[in-house]
């Protein structure tokens, strides 16, 4: 018989995403989510204790040997099933993390509870792209490409203009498109390759080097600039290195002040839960919402099979940035 806690657990199993703040290790985020889910689960009303019938003797006065024993039956609760003796119903929950974010980056972090980890594996086996916003600053270069590292070089940046930056970005994008085709394991001269490219299904198969499928500058105010990136198979360190290399290409130096993930596959910033909403009830709501929106989008794509799939490989099909200002 399912207790209220188990019924609640069935609702919690699934995928959802949270907003990881910068400066916190992802393991701590996962730990806090696990603690708050456990708190919600163990707060459900507990089952009443089962009772058993025991035979107790009536008290005997004095030390005389009783002639016949009188026993009375009493129904007493079985204390060995009491929650103070057995412990809470749920003591551990398996919470899996999707693509990791390192400590100094922030953004959308996908988590899966219980059975949802299977869905998580399936999600990451398909080619899923991620959206990042990189805040850069010209004029300094550090050893780990971020603003907390040891400064290695300083340079001027007065000569940098927006179109020079755009030119460098276009060149980078071209190089990345080439490697995209290279890693797709399809012969470029075949009809098959053409058809796949038309439908937008051309992309790297399995593990490959990080590839930027989209790159553009959304804000330019020297020395600060902001880039928007879409990529596959990346790490945050690689993205910081990209910023550093852009600085080098512009004959100056640059470092990365912030890496912020705005989208991880189908999970966007809108679905992400902030710190005050990490309680079990909010998580259940978020999972339910995501499931229903997935169902809706599935029925929509079924109706129109000719629409290009999610992974867009050309610049023109880049998703618009969701500005939060």
């Amino acid at each position: 018989m399912a207790t209220p806690a188990i019924r609640m657990f069935r609702k919690i199993e699934g995928l959802f995403c949270v907003y990881k703040p910068a400066g916190v290790h992802w393991k701590l985020v996962r730990g806090s989510i696990e603690t708050s889910l456990l708190k919600g689960l163990n707060a459900t009303p507990s089952q009443p204790l089962p009772t058993e019938v025991r035979f107790l003797a009536l008290p005997v006065s004095g030390a005389e040997a009783p002639k016949g024993l009188t026993l009375s039956a009493a129904s007493m609760p079985v204390l060995s099933k009491h929650p103070l003796v057995t412990g809470p119903e749920f003591q551990n929950i398996k919470v899996g993390v999707g693509h990791r974010l390192d400590a100094s980056s922030s953004g959308v972090l996908v988590l899966a509870v219980g059975n949802g980890s299977k869905a998580l594996n399936n999600l990451y086996n398909t080619r899923v792209t991620r959206d990042y916003t990189l805040e850069g600053e010209f004029g300094t270069a550090t050893d780990d490409f971020s603003h907390t590292g040891r400064i290695v070089e300083r340079s001027t940046y007065g000569h940098i203009t927006k179109d020079k930056l755009e030119r460098v970005l276009a060149m980078l994008q071209g190089a990345n498109q080439k490697s995209l085709l290279l890693y797709s394991n399809v012969d470029m001269r075949s009809q098959e390759a053409y058809e796949m490219a038309v439908q937008g299904l051309l992309g790297p198969d399995g593990k490959s080097l990080p590839i930027l499928t989209g790159l553009r500058c959304i804000h330019f105010e020297p020395p600060n600039f902001t880039l928007e990136v879409q990529c596959i198979n990346e790490t945050q360190k690689y993205l910081r290195k990209v910023v550093h290399e852009i600085g080098l290409e512009l004959r100056s130096t640059a470092l990365c002040r912030g890496v912020r993930r705005t989208r991880d596959g189908p999970f966007t910033l809108q679905d992400a839960l902030t710190r005050d909403h990490w309680a079990a009830s909010d998580v259940i709501q978020a999972i339910g919402k995501k499931r229903s929106s997935k169902k809706k989008s599935k029925t929509q794509t079924k109706d129109s099979p000719l629409q290009p799939s999610e992974e867009s490989t050309t610049v023109n099909q880049m998703k618009p940035v969701r500005e939060q200002q």
Partner: protein, 422 residues
């Protein structure tokens, strides 16, 4: 039947006897009683005597958490026989007992040199005719395991454990601590637990807190009553009122296990290093009684950090600790992180921080997010002389929705959206 040895027949007849037992826990007398009884069918699960036998605890090779029944009176009571054998004393008997529970076993306690005679007939045969009273008094062999890792196998049968559960003691947490489970099983409710609970009630501790106190500090049940009285009297002599003593005991139960000298040393330490008056020291200790229980090294380190690294003056430090004593035991790294952000990024001077020490007790992320939100809105003004001043205290204490509506004059949804842009 040999009068010099007793037979242990593990056929599940449990003799209980709690009142007489409580008085005669010495196993020597038990043996004598058993011998004088002669041909009684004495049954025993291996029992462990309670607290007085500290030597037996150390000699335990298995953690035998067994106990004796304290209900069910039968005719065996009349004979005042005590069959509480301390089985650990008899190594060979133990081994034999557990291997063949149905065979009668000779107890070698009294006569160690007696050879084991396993053929000395099972005097009790299953086909023997017995009287009605005996038939009724045969009890089913209990299924209590001789050793277990969890107390839930024993809680139904043990009076002490059942009463502790009814008081609200978290047995599940206690059984994870080493040796605490065995200790609890060996206690007798009427002689050990009840006097101490009455003592707690006398000092003024609320009955609903008993469960919490015992869960935090189960050793209060084994502490000598005179020591408990002397410690409470010492606290009262230091001019703590009785209600304050009761609240200190219920919030930091380990105080009752510390010697008077240690408590005195600690109070002296706080008074000298913080250079506070006696009444201020009392005030701090009444608010955070666990200062008396924990280690003093982190406190000394925090004092040094405040003085040297953060650069507070002595009177400012005093004020901080009197207002928020928790900063004394705060994490050193967190303290420096918060101070660094508040002083260098928010540009708040020392005296203003000292005036609102709650800011040092808060979560760092919270301060950072709220400050960045106010900065984005252009409202980050912490100087009391200028208009639109926002006090640090209100910044950190208020919950999110009140912060949004009153201080930032924005909606909570906007704050969430802003948090996602950081």
């Amino acid at each position: 039947m040999a009068s010099s040895c007793t037979q242990l027949c593990l056929q599940g007849r449990n003799l209980l006897r709690s009142k007489a037992v409580a008085r005669t826990w010495q196993y020597n007398t038990q043996v004598r009683h058993c011998i004088t009884r002669g041909s009684s069918k004495i049954l025993n699960d291996c029992t462990i005597n309670n607290g007085n036998h500290t030597t037996t605890q150390t000699r335990q090779r298995w953690k035998q958490q067994m106990f004796c029944y304290s209900d069910l009176a039968t005719k065996h009571l009349a004979t005042e026989a005590l069959e509480n054998k301390n089985v650990e004393e008899t190594s060979t008997a133990d081994v034999v007992a557990y291997k063949s529970p149905l065979l009668p076993i000779r107890d070698a306690v009294s006569v160690p040199n007696m050879p084991l005679d396993l053929d000395a007939a099972a005097e009790v045969s299953a086909l023997e005719l017995i009287s009605e009273e005996e038939a009724v008094s045969i009890t089913v062999p209990s299924d209590i395991p001789p050793a277990s890792i969890s107390l839930k196998d024993y809680v139904d049968k043990s009076e002490t454990l059942s009463k502790l559960v009814q008081l609200g003691v978290d047995l599940w947490k206690l059984e994870q601590r080493p040796n605490v489970g065995s200790m609890l099983l060996k206690l007798d409710f009427n002689t050990d637990v009840a006097p101490r609970l009455l003592f707690l009630k006398d000092i003024g501790v609320d009955e609903s807190r008993f469960g919490h106190i015992i869960t935090q500090n189960p050793f209060v049940l084994t502490e000598n009553l005179e020591n408990l009285h002397s410690r409470v009297n010492f606290l009262k002599s230091q001019k703590f009122s009785s209600e304050i003593v009761a609240s200190m005991v219920s919030r930091a139960p380990y105080i009752l296990n510390f010697t008077v000298k240690r408590l005195d040393n600690r109070m002296g330490f706080y008074q000298q290093t913080l250079k506070l008056s006696a009444s201020n020291t009392r005030h701090i200790l009444a608010r955070l009684p666990r200062l008396l229980c924990g280690s003093l090294e982190p406190v000394k380190e925090n004092l040094k950090v405040c003085e040297m690294e953060l650069g507070f003056k002595e009177n400012e430090i005093q004020h901080i600790f009197i207002t928020v004593p928790k900063v004394l035991t705060a994490n050193k790294r967190k303290l420096t992180q918060i101070f660094d952000f508040v002083h260098n990024t928010m540009k708040v001077p020392h005296d203003l921080i000292a005036k609102f020490p709650q800011v040092l007790n808060c979560r760092f992320m919270r301060i950072r997010e709220r400050h960045q939100f106010l900065e984005y809105l252009g409202k980050a003004q912490y100087n009391p002389d200028l208009p639109n001043y926002i006090s640090l205290e209100r910044l950190v204490i208020m919950p999110n929705d009140i912060f949004c509506t009153e201080l930032a004059l924005a909606k909570s949804a906007d704050f969430s959206l802003f948090q996602k842009t950081l």
